[in-house]
Amino acid sequence: MVQGQGFDRRALLRLGVLAGATAVGAPLLSSCGGDAAPTAGQPGEAGKPLAALSVSAPHAVTDSEAGNPLATSIGATLIVMRHVYDSLMVLDNGEYKYQLAESVTPNADASEWTIKLRSGVSFHDGKPVRAADVVHSLRTVGTKPSNRASVYAMVNLPGVTAVDDLTVKVPLLVPRGDFRESVLIVFSPVFPEGMTDFAKPIGSGPYKLVERNGTTTKLVANDGYWGGKPSVGELRIVGVADASARLAALKAGQVDYAIGISATGAKTEATNPAVTIIRGGPANSNALSFAMNQKLAPFDDPRVRTAVRLAVDRKALVDNALLGQGSTADDVVGKNLPGYADLPERTRDVARARALFAEAGVTKLTLRTGELVPGMMNASKLLVQQLEEAGVELALEELSADAFYADVTTLATHPFQAFYYVNRPAAVHLSAVTHGKAPFNVTGTSADYQARLAQAQATPDDAARGKAFGALQQEFYDQGGDVLWGFQEQLDASRAGVAGVRIEQSVQLFDRATGPA
């Protein structure tokens, strides 16, 4: 979704965190880091409720019909999901929050969790949300053919039971203190018990799905929503594959909000008074990296990893390759999101990089790269110049994006590659991408790192776990294999005067949007 990039499988890579729509719940875990979610328009602007709002959102022709929680893909499908279904927990305003859950608590060793549900919530068909619905929902989204089944790999699904109408017990296969952030926050939509066919989706969210075709989904406000009456009466989500077409539709007045426009588009329209550009900030971004595999020469030498980090001019990369529509990163995923260790900003030191390269005897490197996201090839070409200044000749091995990801063997065994991640909370990222079995673990983390990761995941106490994950981030910062140089921010555009749109993990929430006063 970011930069309008992403079809098909690569789009699936973006499925970092997704959950339900709005939340009014109490904050969970201490808010380590986490800026407020960006909001379109001026804060505090006096807008008025909108009768209708149309949105152009990324879409791939292979996407299932929007509203099917078993096959969420990109843009349009995600946005419809988050407006129709409530989730047990969500990331909202930069914090982990309860939505349908009222509390989620572990037993002593975090091998079993108890979910207490909010009472008095109803589905769109008027029936109450009960524990049995949650049991059915978790089992359904946790089992294939759900494309998010892997999120539930740690859950003993047959053992999930309804204790009473508002209490669910969730046994895990291994003790996990991070169950809430690694599972419920990532994906926990709730739909009625027995619902297996999603042709007519029913949730308890702020919008009801009334009609759809191959490209357009029409939602109407659920006026009795427990979280408050939505401010937009009718929401139309239009799937548009191409970023320029999404912007063109906005400029032609066919939609009021365009999700995922190109950096060029954002620059061009910056001075257009009829259009407002909304930047997602690091919290809604792709994290772009040059990944070094620590298990392979020459990157098994920590001096070489440090040298590359110091040789890179992050600001120049962001300014040129991302046309300035992004921000610099400091080698660790998770900035501006809960649990980030607030690591110091990296600065360039060419002299020291040159000395380290010379010490380690490195004069030539090869980077496997491709246009994985818009700007990645330009960044790679700029890296050639930057490393040259540090005395290293860099060769580029360019591939198409499809070929780049398709060759899983080379991905795992190439020492130096361009790569991108979804910027998601550090604990979720580290758990998903840096463990030993992840095929896309391109930085080659060591066995003892993985033992520390498993220990951190199992820690039941929130503060202790936060500390353990903080230490892992520090380790990545000091020793890890990612030269994470920039955040390619989500870029949206709206008709002037549209305000109150929240962006959470690159998913837009329109239930509190307003129009010009």
Partner: protein, 318 residues
């Protein structure tokens, strides 16, 4: 008897062609890097997930075996299901086929008469001012890449002078026909290229036909020019033009990807491109065979048209 033999031979040739297309598509999908297991799983999938998915999709078997399996289904008109969405191929293809059919139909209805008119005017007044102007416009229209033409049309008619929609959104519960203005820009983009390209071929055919003895004879016999053109010259242009239009029609069905993307038109080309990217072999075979069938039928129709237009062939066929 001869006609029956002709028909049998044609059906056999068509079947052989479709089979060859099916084999080539299947093999091509195999040669591309990666497979459906990796393309349908995400970044967080483990090596075990990929291996399990491969078994689930039957990708652990050699491709000729999988092809034979698919073929056995295909002859029973079961084209299989998509590895991405799990939906039957026929259902995946139905909506884009309808949308593309409509787009191609409207485009052809505008393009063919326009191309004939352009070709006729240029060919009959070759070297004249009209010919030179039309030739210049045609060369530009054919040479400019389609995404530029389409982009310029959006800029002109949807942005600067906002009279038409920038993207083609069929109304909910309806078809593009219920809101015909969504068809205008895509049809215009396709027609500019199609009419210019086909117009050049009609022009050449008109020039060739103009020198034919029977046309010359008709003129010398004192027939009015209009009768010469309609009764003698135009029929002589049918054989070369019929095949050009058959090409155009096939090209429109399979080659509208750029226009579909710029205008977000929900047609077949996008489905085809996505199927290739995702190693979605069943969908690829479905769309590929459909397009091959359309090409074959277009050319059979062109042959029939030629047969009707050329008395010598009619006699020979008997």
């Amino acid at each position: 008897m001869t006609a029956l033999r002709f028909l049998v031979r044609r059906v056999a040739a068509t079947t052989a062609t479709l089979l060859a297309v099916a084999v080539v598509l299947f093999a091509a999908s195999e040669v591309l890097p990666g497979d459906a297991a990796t393309s349908s799983l995400g970044l967080d999938a483990t090596a075990e997930d990929v291996a399990a998915r491969r078994v689930e999709l039957g990708l652990d078997r050699p491709w000729p075996v999988r092809f034979a399996d698919w073929l056995a289904g295909a002859v029973r008109l079961d084209l299989g299901t998509s590895v991405m969405s799990g939906e039957p191929v026929t259902r995946i293809i139905a909506e884009p086929l309808g949308a593309t059919g409509l787009l191609v139909g409207v485009t052809a209805a505008v393009t063919v008469p326009l191309a004939v008119l352009v070709g006729l005017v240029s060919g009959l007044r070759r070297g004249g001012r009209a010919d030179r102007a039309l030739s210049a416009v045609s060369v530009v229209a054919v040479s400019v890449p389609q995404f530029v033409t389409a982009g310029l049309l959006v800029l002109l008619l949807a942005d600067l002078v906002p009279v038409l929609p920038a993207i083609s959104l069929p109304p909910l519960g309806g078809t593009p026909l219920d809101k015909p203005d969504v068809l205008v820009l895509p049809v215009l983009a396709l027609t500019l290229f199609g009419a210019a390209w086909a117009g050049r071929i009609v022009r050449a055919a008109v020039i060739d036909a103009d020198g034919l003895p029977h046309v010359e004879a008709a003129r010398l016999a004192g027939l009015p020019e209009r009768a010469v053109v309609w009764r003698h010259l135009l029929p002589a242009t049918v054989p070369p033009c019929a095949h050009a239009f058959a090409w155009l029609l096939s090209g429109l069905f399979g080659g509208t990807a750029v226009v579909e993307i710029v205008f977000n038109y929900p047609g077949l080309s996008q489905t085809l491109v996505a199927a290739v990217r995702n190693h979605d072999t069943a969908v690829l075979e479905g769309v590929g065979l459909l397009l091959a069938a359309i090409i074959i039928v277009s050319f059979v129709l062109a042959d029939l048209l030629v047969l009707l237009a050329d008395p010598r062939l009619r006699v020979a066929a008997r």
